[in-house]
């Protein structure tokens, strides 16, 4: 059977008939009506494409990845060849930082790879080093530094390089200054992320104590070595760098307290620390299908509609003053299984299923990059991984 698994379905049929000539017993078996060649029987097809959610547990949760899984039935289970014809994407909703789309005709192995890459491997910029000159607030230095690290910064990370032990320069570091003081006799104040001010010329703190007498003309050495100002670069000149939201509370200051610090943001990935993750959540679920196999009428229908917390069901009039339950919004189903709980009287008339190759994918960006760009980047990263492995092996 090994040779015909390489062929398409029709090819395996013709080869199957070739061998049938040589073997009349096989010929007889293949002509039986319940031996479908080239097509899966409905129950197997159902197991292959659907997860059925029973009241206690879901069944048929596996995917059948092996291409010869149905070879004995003359069915080729190869999805790679037909992938380009069958794969579909439908965008449901797209805003500045949120996106929902349907991926149809893809295996969970790939959908999950995209999800994992989005969370852990798409690079962003985040504050990594904080140089604290003065902090008299109640919040400790290390906690303050951690809070600063978690602030998402609105800048395209593709314009920067990874630091990799290089000295901080204009290509790998963004410097912010935060200097806030709460005057004595005043009200307590909140320090918000909008008070982080971008320093396009790099750090302002001198590396060594300044000697005021000698060579005041030459620039003192600082914690960064920028060769030029970042705002002179074309990509930032009319596109200043700031946190995605100016309303994130960093600390609270009482009268007389002060924070004076410099924060250095570098490029990193979510695998190292979650602060570099570009997504808030990214998740997918399989498309739910709700099927009513026997009519549920009148009072029962009313009860069923009231039972579902997400209003999947609706009622339609079928004449003679009779009503029937219909499935109006299957996509909203969260699979709470309330409708198939025992003792309701209709639990055997309803089937809850999920389509195994149809994913409702949702990306919520932190605002660093638009969600559609994030997804494209994630796919590119998987391509790079393949490329790396191929070049490593050859």
């Amino acid at each position: 059977m090994s040779s015909d698994t390489e062929d398409t379905t029709s090819g395996s049929e013709s080869e199957a008939s070739d061998s049938a000539k040589a073997n009349s017993t096989l010929d007889f078996i293949e002509k039986l009506s319940d031996v479908p060649m080239g097509r899966l029987p409905p129950n197997i097809e159902f197991q292959r494409t659907r997860v059925e959610c029973k009241a206690d547990a879901p069944i048929h949760t596996d995917t059948f990845q092996y291409n010869g899984a149905y070879a004995s039935m003359g069915v080729d289970n190869n999805l790679v060849d037909s992938f380009c014809d069958n794969f579909k994407v439908e965008v449901i909703n797209l805003t500045e930082d949120e996106m929902e789309f349907d991926m149809i005709g893809i295996d969970p192995a790939l959908a999950n790879a995209f999800r994992r890459i989005l969370i852990a491997e798409v690079p962003t910029m985040a504050i990594e080093k904080v140089l604290i000159a003065n902090n008299t607030s109640v919040i400790q230095d290390e906690v303050l530094a951690h809070r600063l690290g978690l602030i998402p910064i609105k800048v395209d990370p593709r314009l920067f390089e990874f630091t990799e032990n290089n000295t901080p320069n204009e290509k790998n570091t963004i410097v912010f200054k935060l200097h806030v003081r709460c005057e004595r006799g005043g009200q307590r104040i909140s320090v918000k992320s909008k008070e982080l001010i971008w320093l396009p010329n790099g750090s302002e703190y001198p590396l060594e104590p300044q000697d005021t007498k000698s060579d005041s003309s030459s620039k003192p050495k600082t914690y960064t070595s920028f060769t030029c100002s970042q705002d002179s670069l074309p990509e930032f000149s009319d596109n200043p760098i700031y946190p995605t939201s100016g309303d994130i509370t960093i600390a609270r200051l009482g009268p007389g307290q002060e924070i004076d610090l410099e924060a250095h943001a570098v490029k990193g990935i979510g695998k190292t620390h979650a602060k570099w993750s570009p997504v808030a959540p990214v998740w997918y679920r399989m498309l739910p299908e709700v099927i009513i196999s026997q009519d549920i009428e009148d009072e029962m229908a009313e009860k069923l509609v009231a039972t579902c917390p997400v209003k999947v069901f609706d009622i339609e009039d079928i004449g003679n003053g009779k009503k029937r339950a219909t499935v109006a919004r299957p996509r909203a189903c969260t699979l709470c299984r309330e409708c198939i709980r025992e003792g309701k009287g209709w639990e055997n008339s309803i089937a809850l299923q999920r389509k195994k190759d149809h994913f409702i994918f949702k990306i919520e960006s932190t605002g660093v990059l638009p969600p559609e760009v994030l997804f494209t980047e994630a796919v590119k990263i998987l391509e790079d991984k393949c490329d790396r492995v191929i070049s490593d092996l050859s």
Binding site: E6, N78, A113, I117, E121, V389
Partner: protein, 107 residues
């Protein structure tokens, strides 16, 4: 890195550094789709080791060839996903602007 036998190239284990379930599970899928694969599977020998082992046994071809072909398959799939996705986003924006709904002016 490949760990295999000198006499029988049809079975070997590939040890990939700096990879995890993300890549290994995706490539296991494409390997399983290859009719030349007799067996394939992956394991992460230790959770704090940044390494994944992918075992491949084939029906006769060199395991390395099958593995690189599967990586190639995966890459082609990714490229197709990317182009389809980009097209879907453009189509969505078009249909939105036709319907006269507000559309992000930056894009």
């Amino acid at each position: 890195m490949e760990h295999g036998s000198l006499t029988d190239p049809s079975q070997s284990t590939f040890s990939l550094v700096d990879e995890d379930h993300t890549f290994a599970n995706a490539v296991r899928f494409t390997l399983n789709q290859d009719p030349r694969t007799k067996f394939c599977g992956y394991s992460i020998p230790h959770p704090s080791d940044n390494r994944v082992n992918i075992r491949i046994q084939t029906t006769g071809d060199a395991a390395k060839t099958v593995f690189t072909d599967s990586c190639q398959d995966l890459m082609v799939m990714c490229q197709h996903v990317r182009s389809t996705f980009d097209k879907a986003v453009v189509d969505f924006r078009m249909s939105k602007s036709v319907n006269g709904m507000d559309i992000d002016s930056n894009n």
